[in-house]
Point group: D3
Chain length 158, copies 6
């Protein structure tokens, strides 16, 4: 076994209870987990800084987890941080196909890379940031879907 | 991070280069990997003993890997060996759905369990033990599909 | 058996023969069917009013069917109208996964909800509003794909 | 709306909590639900009589539900009982494709037929009779997966 | 463009209208089409000879089509007949995944091979030999699902 | 067999090694292959003229291949050029479903049409123009993913 530093990348707009669950589990599998928040060019609900802040506040209790933003090729970020593991959630068949495609391309760019898929906890299988934004936008209750750091900010937005 | 002992279960009839690749990669992610060969009730091409022998010979170079047979509920085997990680390959969408189903059921039986999917290396994506048996049965060349311990035994069978 | 008021929601941009077929069949299964036209924020080909008008004209012959627009959380609309059944068409595997995700989320928001999937009639399996718009935009013949109320309006647009 | 008599067919080897949940929900949607136990030619764990008995005992509390065996073309059974609705659960993408295929073929045999898919409750999404048999065979605990009428008979078998 | 001799392999137990449609269309795309009936080891409804006879009678009108049986590795058969094109129907997502797997393995065995998928005609999308056997076994009407050469033999069997 | 003129349509933004491979193989199956570059209304990375130029330069060595732009209903283009075959790559399950939908709609618009799916070469299975643009945008190396005519233009853009 070699060093096991893992990166868990995403847009996290916002960070949900499903994301939190994946990080908690990854933190038990690997020495260190870096949550990598993508700058993203599409118009997001939360700014880059807000998305980083929500994830940071939420994951503070986990000693071997760190939240960082990135605005470059993901594989460059992974390499710069000495990581060689990519953690991805795969909820649906559509996710699985897309993630497999990315895993193959990423290995072409960085041959040391290992991609690891974690199936979602049953209660988060159908939870996505898109659905959270949609419900919150119409005034629905998302208090069981996002951590408190996201909830308070969602309430300010709408 | 807690102890990371992982189990990689299967029928392995026979152990292929795709299986070997998954074990090699798992051995770099986790402290110890136990390859668990299922006794299986369906009529297999190779006996339980042969299937264990092929995997054992093939994986001998890997120091933190061990091959064991089992004839009980998989989760009982995992628990008995102090493991809490299950490694699974997921090549196709059909695999992914079936494996996700198993992951949920297994977590119900053993709540500590973490299932980890490793996508296949590109060159093994469409390799399965079923296809190997089919080609070998008709005298086709499978020398690039299985390790030498399986190849010699396949040649004896047909 | 309790009261069976069903809601069939969509953007209906425009209402197609496939939508019409689903409503006709739902109207034979349930006491009352409310076709709920979403206000939608993305730029649609037809205005909210036009989309409601097309569906209303088309479905006039069905006594237990009513067309209404909505601009709120769907589950709030369903509750307000005393409905507890959601009717959805599921044509493809991609549809099915997405719809299942919505069904789970909706049940979280409204625990009384029952989602019912109707498979499309064979001849409408591959008919979608997107395809209709694409063909009409290029002057193709869509007279067998949409009801007459949509056809005349499509001809005015292009 | 016309009469709504629905048939829910299956092998039910054995009847699980997932099947029970589908019947409970169908019983609230339709006037009458007939659970149709297939005679089946493949070797089943439970006999035809046992499978009927388990479903009958389990569903006794539901006034508008009846359990019957059948050993003919399903569409002939449906017609004989004056039903025109077929209720099916669709848990996975693979299920969905298979069920859609059957729905189309059945409509060819009986043009009045309407097939209705009910998505599984979240907690039963990955529950199947096959998995139940597998766990029970190895002495695992299935008490949360099957109704008591099935549990006692499973304990006698193994 | 090089010579275009194509092989369309299958068990054809029995040959259906869906198979017939694929051959008719392939015969318009390629110089010559060889329908290759697999000997098959699983217990089939029709014997090897019967399955060849049904296909032969049905396809007699097509001048550039020939029916042959084979009992070897498919790629050896393809090579022996100077063909380099394999024609396959792909009706469902499950078919597509399985066929893609075979296409990759076959290209490993015979690098000149080109696999071509033809989508089924809409009316045959959900027609399979398995469904035909199931309906015929219970006395259902399959006259629109199989060619007359299969229909008469099915009526003799049941 | 009738005349076999085939059209391979796409946005080709930009033309990749995967597209090139499909054209090379189609050119060996059919008399003549027309690569049809769609004008496209969504904002593309390359202009219509650039996309046509990249494909034209890349495919120059293939004698029976021609590159043309089109800005009309695809079926009108196909008919105008006396073609009746549409060549499509299908890499993923999601592709397959979408392409099957298009194939059915296209046959409704042009009943003579035959759609042929070619599975991607193994090394291009997970290559898409979207992924190429994403990697190039961040300064990653795409020299093995696109032909030289696309590579030089990508380097000028970024």
């Amino acid at each position: 076994m070699t060093n096991t530093i893992a990166v868990y990348p995403g847009t996290f707009d916002p960070f949900t209870c499903g994301h939190e669950n994946i990080v908690q589990r990854a933190a038990r599998l690997f020495e260190r987990v870096i949550v990598a928040v993508a700058a993203s060019r599409k118009e997001a609900l939360f700014t880059f800084e807000e998305r980083i802040a929500i994830a940071t506040e939420t994951l503070q209790p986990l000693a071997n987890v760190e939240v960082l933003g990135f605005d470059c090729l993901l594989m460059d970020f992974v390499r710069q941080h000495g990581a060689r593991i990519l953690v991805r959630g795969a909820r649906t068949v559509a996710d699985f196909e897309y993630e497999t495609q990315l895993a193959v391309m990423n290995r072409k760019l960085y041959s040391e890379l290992e991609t690891v898929f974690l199936p979602p906890a049953e209660e988060h299988r159908f939870l996505s940031a898109t659905v959270v934004r949609e419900i919150a936008r119409h005034g629905g209750d998302v208090s069981e879907l996002v951590p408190s750091a996201a909830l308070s900010r969602l309430q300010q937005k709408f």
